[in-house]
């Protein structure tokens, strides 16, 4: 009955849970913070996520936003101290950022910037890797 004991399932569940929160968060934040304006370009949308969303959810803006050198559809958001990993003592702490990755995914998908988001710990900083689909990239460059 309990399907919870497989760790991969746990972190996928976290991501899915975050996805639902992201869908609702963008509705709330667009209304409250932006006066219902729609972002048109990837960079504007990611800046919205990095500043407004992060500030409202976590109390401070995210630390950095970068575009990948190698892959043109990948962007990185850095967070030095993700709140979801704060009080967890075992080795799976970093993987709990899957929840925040899910939130970002929900927000971007709802804003029609379809993508996949994953979280990786790199040099003690949490990196959220956002890979947009080719349709979004093509739309953005036109």
């Amino acid at each position: 009955m309990h399907t919870l004991f497989c760790t991969k399932y746990v972190f996928n569940s976290l991501s899915e849970a975050g996805y639902g929160v992201g869908l609702r968060a963008i509705e709330l934040l667009s209304f409250r913070e932006k006066g219902c304006r729609k972002e048109r370009s990837i960079i504007q949308m990611l800046n919205f996520v990095r500043t407004t969303v992060w500030k409202s959810l976590f109390g401070r803006p995210a630390d950095d936003l970068q575009i990948s050198n190698a892959k043109k559809n990948e962007y990185y958001i850095y967070d030095n101290d993700p709140v979801t990993c704060k009080y967890i003592s075992n080795s799976n702490a970093a993987r709990c950022a899957a929840y925040t990755a899910g939130i970002i995914n929900g927000i971007l998908d709802a804003a029609e910037f379809t993508c996949t988001v994953s979280s990786i710990l790199n040099n003690n900083r949490m990196v959220f890797v956002i890979a947009f689909t080719s349709k979004v990239i093509a739309r953005d460059s036109s």
Binding site: A17, G20, S56, F58, G59
Partner: protein, 186 residues
């Protein structure tokens, strides 16, 4: 100054020094948690028990935080314990004011509160009308009191989600535990 006013003041001052998180993020995270539990277990009764178990695990750790941040010393009787939970605990962790009312005998009391941040944005659909959404809080109280040698049972009697004007957690003291020390030499 009466003890209750002192407790209320302590609750307020501790609340102002606590590190805060966005209450909407908390509400939505809790909602996502309950939704995932329902998806996994399907049965509302099982979900209620799981929420209470999770709350118990939170409570056994939260009591350390409570004692460290407030510096309250041992409560002399159940009345003080009840008021500590309602005036200090609820205020510092949830930011809401709670009231204590006494039950049928001196071992039972209920904590009534309004404005629970966990139920923000939530509506219970008809098929989940038996879901005790805030059951986590019942578990927290049970876990925290267990760590200070009191075995209690808790019950979510009224809930604002089910249409009641206030939410109510009913606490019954079952027994006090004696501290056991492992014999070192003999």
């Amino acid at each position: 100054m009466s003890l209750h006013t002192k407790m209320a003041r302590l609750g307020d001052s501790t609340f102002s020094t606590m590190e805060k998180v966005n209450s909407e993020l908390l509400a939505m995270t809790y909602g996502a948690l309950v939704t995932t539990l329902i998806k996994d277990f399907q049965d509302v009764k099982v979900v209620n028990t799981e929420l209470e178990k999770m709350g118990y695990n939170i409570g056994v750790r939260l009591i350390d935080e409570f004692l460290a941040k407030t510096g309250v010393t041992q409560c002399r009787n159940l009345k003080e314990t009840a008021h500590s939970i309602a005036k200090i605990g609820f205020k510092m962790f949830l930011g809401i004011n709670a009231e204590v009312t006494w039950g049928a005998d001196a071992r039972q009391f209920s904590i009534e509160f309004k404005g629970n941040p966990l139920i923000e944005f939530v509506e219970l659909p008809e098929k989940f009308k038996n879901l005790d959404y805030s059951n986590l809080l019942c578990g927290v109280i049970r876990g925290a009191l267990h760590m200070v040698q009191m075995v209690v049972t808790t019950e979510l009697r009224k809930s604002e989600l089910k249409g009641d004007p206030v939410s109510e957690i009913y606490v019954t003291l079952k027994q006090h535990l004696a501290e056991k020390f492992k014999g070192e030499d003999d």
